[in-house]
Symmetry: D2
Subunit: 140 residues, 4 copies
């Protein structure tokens, strides 16, 4: 389901397009690509040893910013590759490049900023030191 | 958006079908009718004075059982009426009949059992007495 | 991702619970189990050689009836097994038993009736003979 | 449900947050704001006399680009205002500014580019002349 190319350190997750994802235009509904991207980010963090990464102790990762360019539509039954490539890391946030492609053909090109916030006050917080240390090895 | 016919005490909520609800078959995806039904149940409870009814103090209402018959499909742009009709009430659960129709034409016919459980142990619990008292007036 | 036990001929599909599937109650939203069930039915038909089975030439399979009993909730990060077990077959419809379980523990127990209809008139139609012949081998 | 302020010509659509929209973090799942934005764009076009605007004859409008900044999260039961403000118009596309706010408090700030394409070839096409003429009156 997922692989990390050690050379490029670009993590990739595979997912199938089901009926639930499509719309009456016969293509994947534009919001649903963000679901695929969240799945890939979750699997990237799981591959580093972090389960339930979106909801850890007293803190949570939330999406702060998303930029998507829709190049070509995905359709029912497609098998999609969603990358999760760490391009920037700071104490309380990180940026990812996420491309969605089908057989090497780029469909969606996205940048996502993730911030760490406290569960209670919903204010920016430094992420746990061990996650920060681990992520450092994957920035490129 | 909602009305209660005092004679029949059948609550009804209206909703529009948007692109998000449809699928590549050109109709509303079968799971999405359950979203409409939850909206109608929420608005029914709100009409009785209960906000955020699904998540009240220490307890929550969860769906225990659903039976749906899909008679005819809804399509993009339809305005749907979703009823929420209380047909049975006990200490820790209640049953609703929920019909989804378009211009008086029945599309989906459903029965839903809702149970009250504790947030922690996820075990059946008697619902708060005031909710039980209020609901009693709406069983028919 | 999927296996058919030849003895029991019960097809099973595995899926992960992601953030998109959960709700503010901390559990999988009740409508989303129907998405998992559709994925399993699609993979069952794919395993028999039928791609895009929901949308074949001039005809489509639609869900006619669903009965679900929610026994226990699934939560974030769960890996779920969804069965697709053909229990009845007629010319224009078939019935499936679909159980959703986690590590052998039953969470949701469902029966689903699927009907074949024409794309245009949305009327019941006999399903293609080859699909009917193939499905016959899997009823039990 | 919707109003156009004639002075500013900023269309606004109201929607409620239901359980279906939330996630285990207790907030609206980040992809679901795109559903709200599509509802507001659809109602904007409907207010101009165009029904089913996403799927008109031989052509369709598709989203080409989205930029979102998530300022603050929406939660269960919130009533949200989603604006649909036309900021740029060309022959085959238009740009909208869409803000999501709660009681005047900005939660999400988004820019969306919509392109007109042919249903068959999925290639850029000039939009119908009457839609272009109508939209011209709303650019600001």
């Amino acid at each position: 389901m997922a692989l990390v190319s050690k050379d490029t350190q670009v993590f990739s997750h595979q997912t199938r397009v089901y009926v639930e994802d499509t719309d009456a235009g016969g293509i994947v509904f534009y919001a649903n690509y963000l679901k695929y991207m969240e799945r890939a980010r979750t699997e990237f963090l799981r591959s580093l040893g972090y389960d339930k990464p979106a909801l850890f102790d007293g803190l949570q990762f939330v999406v702060r910013r998303v930029e998507l360019v829709y190049q070509k539509p995905a359709v029912l039954d497609d098998v999609l590759d969603i990358s999760a490539h760490l391009i920037k890391l700071s104490k309380a946030s990180f940026d990812m490049q996420q491309n969605i492609s089908r057989d090497g053909d780029l469909l969606v090109d996205a940048k996502v900023k993730i911030a760490c916030i406290s569960n209670d006050a919903k204010r920016p917080q430094a992420m746990p030191a061990d996650i920060h240390e681990t992520l450092k090895n994957y920035v490129c």
